[in-house]
Amino acid sequence: MDSRRLPRAVIDPKVRQVGFFTSCDPPPARSLSVPADTGASAIVPTDMSSSPPLTDIYITNNSFSSVRIPPPRQVSAEGLHSLGRAAGSTTSVFAHDVLSPHCWEGIQMPIGSYNSSEFMQGKSSMLSPSSSRFDDIDFSEEEATSACLIRTGSGKEAAAFPRSSGEVMMAIKSGANAPAKSALKTASVVKALPEVTEKDGGTSIEKQNEGIGAARSKQKTTKAERRAIQEVQRAAKAAAKDAGKGAKSTFASSGGALAVAKQAKSAILPSQTKYGSSVASERRVDRNPDKDGKKDVSQSSMQFDDKSRVEKAKRRAAVGHFEARNSVELFRHLPQYEHGPQLQYLESKFFHLDHIHPSVYKVGLQYLTGSTSGGNARCKEMLLAFQEAVMDYSTPPEKTPARDLTSKISSYVSFLIACRPLSISMGNAIRFLKNRIAKLDHNISESEAKSNLLSDIDRFINEKIIVADKVIVHHAVTKIRDGDVLLIYGHSTVVEMILLQAHELGKQFRIVVVDSRPKLEGKALLRKLVMKGLSCTYTHLNAISYIMHEVTRVFLGASSILSNGTIYSRVGTACVAMVSHTFRVPVLICCEAYKFNERVLLDSICSNELGDPDVISKVHGRDGLNDLENWSDHENLQLLNLFYDATPSDYVSMIVTEHGMIPPTSVPVIFREYGRDQLFF
């Protein structure tokens, strides 16, 4: 990773942002932290040298990718690496600085107010042993203490202390149960925090040892003592890093520098508390509790052929990734298809992924197995799952729902990405949701905030998908005349609705359904159309130039429409559009406005999705056609199964959206007129 690459990595690499369409401004809550951050980076010059200011990061955070960009630690690691030992010495100075008394006073407040359940979840969710948590170990102790003070004893937390020290008492119950009912007797208890269990036979408070809580509180020492201990630990750590760095080779030393940088970062944080503890506490809340949400690099912004980056992401990811075989050179930067092992992995880890809401988990698995597909369906299922998650959400004490819920949603999103890369429309929907959460009024009660969010999601589904489809149908039906021959490709729900509506209106027309392997989605559509009594012709994409002679209109759906008018849609769409352009047949693209994106895409290489290569090697119903069996054994053979392609705007006659029918060159108008306020937020 050279420094030249950095700004591209932070801004989405596949996106060229058009100048005047920048993302939204940082909301006021966040803007507070900006001066503090710049101040911090001014303190450590190495940080400044390579890391962009945090405001940049915030913007990308809010842009299409919608998944959190990692904190600039890695970035600063590079800087440190280049500066070598000097950086190490600076940080050690800071380590001392942190521990000076007045700083300690500052830092203690936000730490003590942590909710431990959040913390424990984060911790248990980190499946990779090579976690970087140990830098924060001194904080975690504090949290355990505070947890036992606020008594948030729940089963989950108990599970998070699998081998806690503390003896187990058998809670023998008074067997005053009705004879038909059986008495439950606690045979063994995982000991953690004191909790009151209520049972049938009467409320019995299980006698419990204080467990960790007691052990910790007994250890509770005076502030001065703790400070001294920490100081020693930090100094030792810094020294070790420093020494190790000198000895190791370049790669290893960059690892060391990373750790030092992390330390420097954590050193900076307390120093910020001088400026205002509220800022610091917010930042800490953001940073600590769910690492996995924060650290997952957005897949859309990640180059999967960049080995070191993939390695890093893999180490951090909440759910693992698997190596793909024989990937195609040109498409190595995309997330490789890995359905089989990924599904097995997720299934076996079902009960480990406790921090993922069950409904989100379900939707994720449905994406993975392909039982939910299609832009609208996927987006809607995701929103409904989020709705359920919001419904079950309760803000942990001492946290603002806006912050905590956003990080929760982010971790859900990173889970969904692990199942299948997000579509652009889903990115927009997530952006919408996060924006609504960020704009929640701090003064309203939690239940009110939740109901607001729920109705917001409902509204989004209703307005942007359902009503939008109806309006599009209304517009597009006017373009169908008696005697038309319409060509359709793929399986777009909105196109299907248009055809059915036109048929209901009594228009006389014929349909040519063009299909392609391996998905053969046209078959399902064909079946529905024929059942409704429409007259259809079914053919494959190979015959398109033959059939195009008789066609008078082409109706296509789209996965996304980009601001230069490029249509991002099911692979094969570009081919259909080009042939019909050659034959001078008008091409109408039907797409809801929430699928529009401000990016500019010139080809289908830099942004795409890879499917299972095996499905193109097998032909259904023709078992004799097995020439490609064991294809992965051949080193010089690669199979490519692309999901999407990009149709240049030249081949498109008209785009039908709920805002009206527009030529593809007018897509930016939609952004200008309906963007920002109405389209997404």
Binding site: S182, K185, S188, E347, F351, P358, S371, L384
Partner: protein, 436 residues
Amino acid sequence: MDFQVVVMAGGYSKNLVPLVSQEMPKPLLPVANRPVLSYVLELLEASNLKDLIVVVEGEDVALRVGGWISGAYVDRLHVEVAAVPEEVGTAGALRAVAHHLTAKDILVVSGDLVSDVPPGAVAATHRRLDAAVTALLCITPVSGPSESVSSVGKDKGRKLPRANIVGLDHTRQYLLHVAAGAEVGKDIKIQKSILRANDQMEIRADLMDAHMYAFQRTILQEVLDQKEMFHSIKHDVFPYLVRTQLRSEISDKGAPKNGLNGVDYTLNGSEPASEILTNRTHKCCAYIANKSKYCSRLNSVQAFCDINRDVVGEAGHLSGYSFSAQNNIVHPSAELGSKTTVGPQCMLDEGSKLGDKCSVKRSVIGRHCRIGSNVKIFNSVVMNHVTIEDGCFIQGSVICNNAQLQERVVLKDCQVGAGYVLTVGSEYKSEPLSKK
């Protein structure tokens, strides 16, 4: 993940006489010198399921099992033991603990399962397909788990019938038909309506029901409440749910639909054509375990021997022990006489003593056994504190705790009950031997 786990541990199983006794109920029968229940508990623990309800038949068994669990799983699991009267059946046992069940879905696991199939896979399939019930099916072991002298209706540890008939749809996800082997006569009757709704059905006889079910709680409780007669999960509840999947009486009130908004679902038009199973009221699904996974149930004497052999042999990773270079497990405190050989796939536990010129092959020997000289033990299980005197020959047998074999006893395919004494020179073949 909103799952609750109920482990059906059972009690004294009639099928396992004479192995089970007052001191040794079925959940505590040793498999590679660990109680069989521990395999399930550890499987669940590995899946991060730490809140368990263990249902045991009989008060005194419950005391024993509870005592063992609290000793062995201190700090590791949160286990609650419920005692139910004997002969209430698995369905009755579930009814008895029903008031403790609150989660959205319930995972019911048989306590005699020895397997490495992750329960999460079953649960994930259940969730993904939004099923009413999901069953774990696995390939029936080749050796055939039991002789079909079954006594169906003895609910715990009933014999697994020889051929289970399972009907699956073409995606092998939905269960369309189940019939336990004992109920299958010459003909299989299949509901026309189900067949019609699915176009095609795949009938398989090589799948075994592993007794791990994920139920939707509301549906399960409704069935248990409505059908007072239902005795066992496998024979009554589960087939009932599969049978009624198209016309369920428990219907929608059991399964709360997504009532949170007025958005209709008709937009989701992109389902594969074959999956338009329109009028299905609840889905019955199956998770078919991979062939490479081990899965077996200890529900007969034969299965007990098989599992013991497998766990120290081919499925060694289940036992939790590390094998030596000779592919066997010999505790350091075990003493071997001169010219004594312990073959591969054997286990010799703490404090056992073998005399000279013994030969042990594919067998499990428990703690503190005293074995004389010139003893041959093949394919057998010897539990704890057994005394075997010189010149005995033991093949394919199970010898329970504290039994005593005097000199030159020859046993073939026998089961010796706890504390039984075999006199000098006696020979037995294929007999259960125990104190009356």
